[in-house]
Amino acid sequence: MTTFTPDQKPHKHKKNVIEHTLHGISESLERALFAEEISGLPGLFQSLDARVKLISVLALLIGVSFSRSLWVIAAVYLLALILAWQSSIPIEFFIKRVWLALPFFTGMIILPALFITPGPTLIQLPLGLVITSTGVTTVLFLLFRVSTSVSLTLLLILTTPWNAVLSALGVLRIPDVFVLILGMTYRYIYLLLRSANDMFISRQSRVVGRLTGAEERQIIAATTGTLLNKSLDLSSEVYLAMVSRGFVGTIVTLKPFEMQPRDWFWLAVFIFTALLSIYLGR
């Protein structure tokens, strides 16, 4: 048997904050790429007008939000699953993405409600814990409502290219200037993410040994400050570029959509479903 002196003892590599941040950045880039990929596949939701999808998903979200019946919420979840399946979204991913993350956040928050919601006793546990029937109902309500809402949102995100979602937001009477800013923001998020990524990678590649907390904080603050300076510089450059192309402050947006009969049909179906879920779940 080999023995280790303290120096040789293999210890688990502890990620520093730079690595953690890099990991987070690449994860969100991956997610965006994945959504882009799915939105290009053939499928029911991909074939619909972005405005129809946006209004339908909003209507269903409101329906789920109003419903006072677990069955109705479960039915809408089932509908979301069918729509995902019909829209070339890998169904396993669609279920896992929602239900694997759920217990860690909502699940943890809601757990004590099983015991502290006043109501008739359902199960008597040791250590003085009592599960009430109202506690079970309230836990199910929150879990189902959150998971169904997240699924509906995912359905929209995964099947619609981001610029189509943006143009569709115009239908909601959101001012054009807001939509324009949203679009530019979305584009520059990727530029700044890359910029941050590069800064962290170049810093990480020069790190030897372990950083102290104070050093880590200093690195993050300096990167943040540099990124802010870069953003400000870039904004004046972008402004000059816009002016040189004839921007005078008024916004002209293309309205590339035209509603087809099947768009109207599906819009009617989803709005009817949403109204039905409010009516049945009242």
């Binding site: 006072r68 502290i116 250590l127 995912l154 937001l169 949203l182 402050g249």
Partner: protein
């Protein structure tokens, strides 16, 4: 109603859970708030969006479009940074305090709101119906509170002064803590107002006496510290590398009119006196505070629910009763904490009201 043991177990569970939760941002997903609450939050945030957009148009013209876009993108990106705290915990900052110091609170509201809307619509972080609530808690409350505190503490010290770093830390810390308080209030109102036929809560289930400390205490210990630390460190960095940015922030054309504080000095003196006197309320708990709580909530726009408010006042009379959190060690401490948050809330409302008032008179005189 419940065995003492239950409370003890739950309290232990809670203190462990909350410390962990505090490292995550306070993005409310859909399903936690009733549709009515979501709508009210949209109505609350709407005037601030209008003020912000007007401010941008008035001060920055066409140049504002790329500036806001880049700053919103910046806000989005720094929300992803892991910020280490002394002791080994890490957390994410909102960046709202920093944005407020550099842009002024009105414009910061727009930048943070856009970042939050993009998170909801394109990344699935935070609910879509909850956008109003999230933009209010993080995009309005944090910038306005942080900015007020930053201005009040830094006074007229030069840009390079280290007093400004303290001001920035305090601004970030208080801003996020008050933001968490608002989220706690929104959660806590749900079980009072929306119940199924059998009495089970339909949305977020915990009453105000649980939801407020559950949001405020862990945030005050972690997320608010993260925000404060990041704000102060980045400010220090900018003082060294790009003080010009901070000077434009002092430019009245960009930042909020500093005079709006001075004009109503007596209000601030009165409020300061109240704040100092408030711990004395502990000597006679449950008297004035009950009334104040009801008053406070009716300010929030829930006037039409007298039955719920009746319950509220009794809850406010004894916040934290029975929740002897080991984390707190002492229920009175939590009591002071909640009370302090309530005072800050009042200060916020008064300040908002006065700045809206000055905004209108300025408009008229122009």
């Amino acid at each position: 109603m419940f065995a003492i043991k239950t409370k003890k177990w739950l309290a232990i569970y809670y203190s462990a859970l909350l410390l962990w939760l505090a490292t995550t941002a306070m993005h409310i997903p859909d399903g936690y708030l009733s549709p009515l609450t979501s709508l009210i939050m949209f109505l609350l945030v709407f005037p601030f969006w209008t003020i912000g957009i007007r401010k941008i148009r008035a001060t920055m013209n066409a140049k504002s479009v790329p500036l806001i876009a880049l700053l919103a993108a910046f806000a989005f990106v720094i929300m992803m940074f892991n910020i280490p705290l002394p002791g080994g915990t890490t957390g994410h900052a909102v960046g709202a305090a920093l944005a407020a110091i550099i842009l002024g609170p009105e414009v910061a509201t727009i930048a943070i709101s856009i970042a939050l809307i993009i998170q909801a619509f394109f990344f699935g972080d935070g609910g879509i119906l909850a956008i109003g609530a999230n933009c209010f808690n993080m995009g309005v409350v944090i910038p306005y509170i942080s900015y007020a505190i930053y201005q009040a503490v830094s006074k007229n010290t030069p840009i390079s002064s280290s007093r400004r770093l303290v001001a920035a830390f305090l601004g970030g810390w208080v801003g996020v803590t008050v933001g968490a308080f608002f989220a706690g209030v929104e959660f806590g109102l749900q079980p009072l107002l929306f119940k199924a036929a059998d009495g089970s809560p339909l949305y977020a289930p915990y009453p105000l006496s649980v939801s407020i400390p559950a949001m405020v205490i862990p945030h005050a210990l972690v997320a608010s510290v993260v925000e404060g630390v990041l704000t102060a460190l980045v400010l220090a960095y900018l003082q060294r590398s790009n003080p010009a940015v901070l000077e434009t922030a002092q430019n009245p054309a960009l930042a909020v009119e500093a005079g709006s504080f001075g004009k109503l000095r007596w209000v601030w003196v009165g409020l300061a006196a109240l704040i100092v006197a408030s711990p004395l309320g502990l000597l006679a708990p449950g008297t004035a505070w009950g009334e104040w709580g009801t008053q406070q909530l009716s300010d929030l726009g829930f006037k039409s629910v007298p039955a719920g408010l009746e319950k509220l006042s009794s809850l406010w009379g004894a916040p934290l009763s029975g929740y002897d959190l080991p984390l707190l060690g002492n229920a009175n401490l939590g009591y002071v904490f909640s009370a302090a948050m309530g005072i800050i809330l009042t200060v916020l409302l008064v300040w908002l009201f006065t700045s809206l008032l000055t905004y209108r008179t300025e408009k008229q005189t122009q």
